[in-house]
Symmetry: C2
Subunit: 249 residues, 2 copies
């Protein structure tokens, strides 16, 4: 077997390794509330207590655990799992977890910016419908969703809203209802971005917090793109998970 | 059509909308270098120049653009696209973009922590092989990759490394080479996390920068899990993109 290559800055490196495994264990509900003691974790990971303490500091800074003298280390927050490989609205996705509540911040016809018009295959200057929602799961914001809809579908959804508030349904479900089509597929891009001051205040996180940014263009089953979304998810509350099959190199 | 619901904090909201569309346009290479002037953008988005200025400030804070008096607004960095829906190593994925270079920070047998052993279907206390690499594209770090391999495959890869440095190949390609199996599938979880101080220094980003964290368990085509990875990607350098088909609610 090859000789081990020495590690630089060993404690910080060990702390990172421990933090990554613990982060996944917290997510997998390996600990329902209290984590093992520093000594127990040190034995489990074959590292010093100082390295464990540093790892727990990392997870505390991520908002996953609370720590205090005498009270031990507790899970502060478990992230919610949103499937990346299925095209489900939040409400559908979390129906077994809890109630998703929407605060509608805007819902109106707008002139689509050229880049938006182009992606939705609208004529330059054509109207789109813009909807902005702050979405809560429990008492805390989960995501801030900006949505551009094609005018045919968007207009019906705005009308629909009057009698049947958006609060009751995901946009995906409403799009299928008013269009009479099933959704077909979506192109998406995921990034990690820092929260700008205003988005941070809206999502109730500190300035510069890590957000998971999802940009998604969804088409009907006839291939027509109808829904362009920009979704900022709180990094401390959402994990996107999925399953992949290897494609040929 | 329904009456528009008034928007609170209009300028910040408009700036966010503009920033989201511009972010996507920069990613799609709509601007090769210089962005349009503030006045041109104000006309394009039907918002005030102040809102445009605020939007550009957001993108500057994300590291995407540079701005200066008299020199205008330029693209500072375009993010690289990593496909979420194919199982490719970085080197395979970026072969048309540039050279991925690895700095091997560790490569050694370790006793697998219980949670790692369990995911790799190893006996408690069994050895795994741990490899840690800092991966560069061009002159800048792209990601910091922590990998646990099953001992059969990992040991061969460590040996292999002596004659054929890891620098030359993705681990995925090496796993297929030494195992004689194709990779089959992977389970993954994506999160946005803040960079802890040591990871930030290693990735050459400020403390607390938004990182895209990928946790991925990859199996051979016979279903056996062999490769557990924790990959920290610089949020300002990588976008993960993919295509989805709607599943039934």
């Amino acid at each position: 077997m090859a000789e081990a290559i020495p590690i630089r800055g060993p404690r910080a490196d060990r702390a990172r390794r421990v933090a990554d495994v613990l982060r996944q264990q917290i997510h997998a509900a390996a600990y329902l509330d209290e984590l093992p003691t520093e000594s127990e974790l040190a034995a489990e990971f074959s590292v010093s207590r100082n390295a464990i303490r540093e790892a727990l500091g990392i997870l505390k800074d991520e908002g996953l655990i609370d720590r205090g003298p005498k009270v031990g280390t507790h899970v502060a927050q478990r992230k919610y799992d949103h499937r990346i490989d299925s095209l489900l609205g939040l409400k559908e996705a979390f129906k077994h977890v809890g109630e998703v509540r929407n605060e509608v911040r805007a819902a109106m016809p707008v002139v689509a910016p050229p880049a938006v018009a182009s992606r939705l295959q609208l004529e330059p200057g054509e109207q789109a419908v813009f909807i902005e929602r702050l979405r809560y799961l429990g008492d805390l914001p989960l995501s801030l969703d900006l949505t551009y809809l094609t005018p045919d579908i968007g207009t019906q959804i705005l009308d629909h809203t009057l009698e049947n508030p958006l609060e009751t349904q995901d946009l995906f479900a409403l799009i299928e209802l008013v269009s009479g089509h099933r959704l077909g597929s979506a192109s998406l891009a995921l990034e990690a971005i820092p929260a700008d001051a205003h988005s941070a205040a809206t999502l109730q996180v500190p300035d510069g917090s890590a957000l998971l940014m999802l940009e998604r263009l969804t088409s009907l089953d006839d291939g027509r793109p109808v829904d362009l979304e920009y979704i900022r998810m709180r990094g401390d509350r959402i994990t996107m998970s999925g399953h992949l099959i290897r494609s040929k190199p």
